[in-house]
Amino acid sequence: MANHTASVREPLILGNKTYHQITEDIARPIEGKANGMFKIAFTISALLALWGVACFAYTIGTGIGVWGLNKTVGWAWDITNFVWWVGIGHAGTLISAILLLFRQRWRMSINRSAEAMTIFAVICAALFPVMHMGRVWLAYWVLPLPNTFGSLWVNFNSPLLWDVFAISTYFTVSLVFWYTGLIPDFATIRDRQTNPKVRKIYSILSFGWSGSAKQWSRFEEVSLVLAGLSTPLVLSVHTIVSMDFATSVIPGWHTTIFPPYFVAGAIFSGFAMVLTLLIIMRKVLHLEDYITITHVESMNKIIIITGSIVGVAYLTELFVSWYSGVEYEQYAFLNRATGPYWWSYWSMMTCNVITPQLFWFKKIRKSLLATFIISIFVNIGMWFERFVIIVTSLHRDYLPSSWTMFHPTFIDIGIFIGTIGIFFTLFLIFSRTFPVIALNELKTILKATSENPKPPHH
């Protein structure tokens, strides 16, 4: 049978589990009581989230003049955070869709939480462009709706409108993909409950799933087709995000390598965030048998690949700016490396190009502490990448008399910290109410990938 692999593969599920034990282990965080660590983490996240909401409210009430933007730097903090969060989301879809098509079994222990991360990250991302509209109650104007001033439609030539379609499709499709997978797992949780109230909640969440052969047959078909649809979708989303910049005529933005460069960067930063979250989660929820060093190592390998692609893209940009002979383009890159924002450029270079190369050493790749530290570096580096691309290209434009600097205000920083709070609050709620590992999917690979793989029956 196809689900038996060669014994040279390292086991993906440790500790000689049975089907029932998998259910027990994944259901434990849902059924147990929250410990002190969780309560502290939740309180801090919720307070940060509230702080962010207060800053959002102040922005809406007073107007976006409370941000640090000025007439030269019209895009800065908000779009940096938008691109950063959307990029983080990409790892979830890559794990659940692309690795499904490639039949990578190690995705199964991590896909659920990575997809949750995708959804929460896209929520955080979407807040920024909506806030930047200023009058957020008119946000629906981005939709192609007839309006009272005559039928002046949205502009379908604009990448900003493409973004509206891309992000909303990405968010809703990721959500249904995630939920489709959750239904059978909610049914497992439902059937274990003795408390009728809790049972009722999971009964509703599980949509009355019963796991008949026909249901499973359709389930597999839907998962496969959704993976096939999500794969080009996830690539298109960051491609379109990069076109927000690439179709303009700003030096440093107007380059054709932006789409692949942005997609690689997105996956790079997303995997870093997955590692940051999972290294903590496996410890706190006692999932070390399921999210193993082998999983961490596989993700680190993807970080090396995408990190190297990003590094090559940086060098290509530098080469092309010199080779193009366009002095504006050349100045933009010289200004990035040696101008007043040199520190952000070199932070980006160090965090994104040098640190991931440490993963070529097997010892570092297999060390949880080193992986955790490097993943934080990559998160910071990728934030700086967007900051460098956006602010350094804008702050010294074609007219030297308009040159200026961008300084984030208290509110700018508060909003960014607030989205981090929102993200972690949602993730913490998820980790205690949802099955954080696709437990029933994991059972399908148990025989082949446990420590003592069973020989197939014939």
């Binding site: 990448p159 799933w209 389930f219 078909e221 839907v222």
Partner: protein
Amino acid sequence: MSKQVIYGVFDDEEVLVASAKQLRGKGVKIRDVFSPFPIHGLDPVIGIKSTRLSTAAFFYGMFGTSMAILMTWYMMIYDWPMNIGGKPSFVWYLNMPAFIPVTFELTVFCAAHGMVLSYLLVNKIYPGRKAHNPDPRSTDDKFIMEIQTADNKRVGQDDIVATLRSTGAVEINQKELK
């Protein structure tokens, strides 16, 4: 004779498939199988036809494509053509490259959501529906085969039970159908 339903409980999916093959060899009709995860190779044995959901998804996708083409043509070419950045919008196909991203997104949107809605519909699952798996353990670690005597006029109930037992069922439950 009263109508009976027989549940053969297994603790291994491969044993269940082997047992199902034996029963089918005797001409026994298997009503359904409830399992915690999809069992590969079971569908042809118990006579489940492959689903047509992916074909449906293709047509939902085509619907999305057509809607996007119609929408961009109507809004940008027919209803209010504008000269944006020196790119006049007089004919749809000349402006088409700029419409590809939205067309693609709408195709994926309609295919994915159309397919998932159909999936919920044909599987008859929705919030508030009562689950009908015969045993709560079938979503944990047990694999349950459902056989109804009404479907099997030619093979006796005792024969079915004996075959289930000899092919590895760990538990056999029989119930009167109301």
